[in-house]
């Protein structure tokens, strides 16, 4: 085979092959990087989260200026709740309970560096929250308060506060590690309890603590004045049901965590990624034709040699092999290199994405896309080489 290669490598144009490789590298990298980016970013736009199921709606009463002046405080009365429970689409209703005492949260280390702010807690029945029991619960003997915080608070800090104050942006995992304590005041007590952020939620636009803690704390520090809930969490059969929407509209209830904006963003993301992928594929396709042209030219220039080899008794497959191997080596290198560039690029943008709390998706999808595209290109090249050499057989 060494002799055949020595013979057939003549007229191989390095510049043409480099041209093809660069073009294909650019095309393929664009495609797989776009696919990978889409995969990594998608979770940011999805409202799915582990704490509460999609079938739960958080509703509030729509408070208008007039309503507020008339003394309509936005509370849900027992009759309202009973009415919701009676609806055919409703499975169960949970009430949000509020803290009835004063809370100060201390974030960060104690001392000057700490951030202190007035705070509040809400709780919902435990069966609406899907968190590991070991993490979610409260033991008065070893009091520590687990909280689920709205993801909006991080955004508010990262993109509103930190960005303008020159403070570092924080990722969710970093937030979870920040020391947190709560000072609870009431009934003549003033106690400091440690806290721990268990997770972040897109749809619970509040600070949620376990119901057991809420009951314990309200008894210990509370004023004893029972409030009607300002929010309800409702488990429904199908969240997209038009009857629910109409019911909410008729009763002037708002459903929290409206998905409209994120689904729009998701739509545009898909659209833009789609355009980028198409551009990448076009570049790859053009580079494919460059390689085809280069191979045809090469075979054309070496026609006489190829024919002579066939005359010696070499089979068309043996004669094609050096060129096929060449194509496979080039294409495999381009694939590998573009995967490396994709991973480097991913590494770069994941740093920026970490503030959204996404750990990224696996690289399988982009890997498969890359292998499939390269597989198709290589197959096309191999078929072309074989056909061209087969055509030389009869005319040798």
């Amino acid at each position: 085979m060494k002799l055949i290669w020595k013979l057939l490598r003549k007229h191989i144009s390095a510049s043409q092959l480099i041209g093809f490789s660069i073009a294909n590298l650019v095309g393929l990298t664009i495609v797989i990087l776009a696919v990978q980016f889409y995969e990594d970013v998608k979770p940011v736009f999805n409202d799915e989260e582990s704490f509460i199921s999609k079938d739960y709606l958080v509703i509030t009463r729509n408070v208008t200026g007039v309503g507020a002046m008339l003394g309509n405080s936005g509370e849900f009365g027992d009759a309202d709740i009973a009415d919701i429970e009676a609806q055919p689409w409703c499975r169960k209703v949970g009430r949000f309970a509020n803290s009835e005492y004063s809370i100060y949260a201390t974030i960060g280390l104690t001392g000057d560096r700490a951030m202190r702010t007035q705070f509040f807690f809400e709780s919902i029945p435990g069966d609406f929250i899907d968190v590991n029991d070991a993490e979610w619960g409260f033991n008065p003997a070893r009091p520590e308060i687990p909280v689920i915080v709205s993801r909006d608070y991080i955004s508010l800090y990262n993109f509103g506060f930190a960005a303008t104050q020159g403070l570092p942006q924080l990722s969710e995992s970093m937030m979870g590690k920040i020391p947190l304590s709560f000072t609870l005041t009431g009934k003549g007590l003033n106690e400091v309890l440690p806290g721990r952020i268990v997770g972040f939620s897109n749809r619970l636009n509040t600070v949620i603590v376990p119901e057991e803690f809420m009951q314990w704390a309200n008894e210990r520090y509370g004023t004893g004045m029972k409030q009607q809930p300002l929010r309800l969490i409702v488990e429904v059969n199908s969240p997209g049901d038009i009857k629910i929407e109409n019911y909410m509209k008729d009763h002037h209830y708002d459903v929290a965590g409206d998905k409209m904006s994120s689904s729009k963003a998701n739509y545009f993301l898909t659209l833009i990624i789609g355009i980028v992928v198409v551009v990448g594929i076009i570049i790859s396709l053009l580079s494919f034709f460059v390689l085809m042209l280069s191979i045809y030219l090469l075979l054309q220039k070496n026609t006489r040699k190829l024919q002579d080899l066939l005359l010696l008794g070499y089979s068309p497959a043996e004669v094609s092999k050096p060129y096929i191997n060449m194509v496979i080596v080039i294409n495999a290198s381009v694939l590998l290199l573009s995967l490396v560039i994709m991973l480097l690029g991913r590494n770069y943008y994941m740093g920026m994405l970490s503030v959204f709390g996404t750990g990224g998706a696996g690289i399988w999808v982009s890997l498969i896309v890359g292998v499939v595209i390269m597989g198709l290109i290589t197959t096309g090249n191999v078929i072309a080489i074989k056909r061209k050499i087969a055509s030389l057989w009869r005319n040798s």
């Binding site: 002799l3 055949i4 020595k6 013979l7 005359l311 040798s396």
Partner: protein, 206 residues
């Protein structure tokens, strides 16, 4: 059979065209021809790289047009050794590399045996020279050695000694005859003038 370019001719005066001719293993043939009578065409039909003829050509009773690519490759490696008139050497490879290119395919001779043949033909020192730098006579000898590097039932030589002097003509005739006898093969040689010094059993005028 008749080459397509001669189509329509009724009497070519040939002992091959428009006649039924059989080449048998073990017998040697000389086909004499004037220039342009289709001598190389006949070789290319037998060797299977052209089929622009009418009539039928059979290999062991099989129509050559029904042979597959694999069967032709096998025939070229194991059954028909062919020396083309235009030699078809690769000028950028050395004499030895040209010969090895065939021998690698057949594994028929050792490198020492190849050197021996080159020595007998008086060009051992040319083994490592690129063919492009050899004279046409030297190239012809390299091509002959290459032709002998395979098992064969027929050794098909298209003007094998057109560029050789009397001495080398004799050496070539001896080497080819010895190889043919060793294998029980047949020699089919063509010549425009009757200067091939191979003993033949039958002479056909094309």
């Amino acid at each position: 059979m008749l080459p397509a370019v001669f189509a329509g001719r009724e009497d070519t005066g040939s002992e091959v065209w428009l006649r039924s001719v059989t080449f048998e293993r073990g017998r040697n043939y000389l086909i004499t021809a004037e220039s342009g009578t289709g001598k190389s065409s006949l070789c290319s039909y037998i060797y299977g790289y052209r089929n622009d003829f009418s009539g039928a050509l059979l290999h062991d009773g099989r129509d050559v047009n029904t042979l597959s690519v694999a069967e032709w490759c096998e025939a070229r490696r194991r059954h028909i050794a062919y020396l083309p008139q235009e030699l078809r050497l690769f000028p950028e490879l050395t004499a030895m590399e040209n010969i090895l290119l065939k021998n690698q395919l057949t594994g028929f001779k050792t490198q020492a045996q190849i050197m021996q043949l080159l020595e007998e033909l008086g060009i051992p020192e040319k083994a490592d020279s690129p063919v492009a730098r050899l004279s046409i006579g030297q190239q012809q000898r390299v091509a002959i050695v290459r032709t002998l590097c395979q098992p064969a039932d027929f050794i098909l030589l298209d003007e094998p000694v057109s560029h050789l002097d009397e001495t080398n003509n004799r050496i070539v005739a001896r080497l080819v005859t010895e190889e043919a006898q060793r294998q029980g093969a047949s020699i089919i040689a063509t010549s425009v003038g009757n200067n091939v010094l191979i003993n033949v059993d039958e002479e056909l005028k094309l």
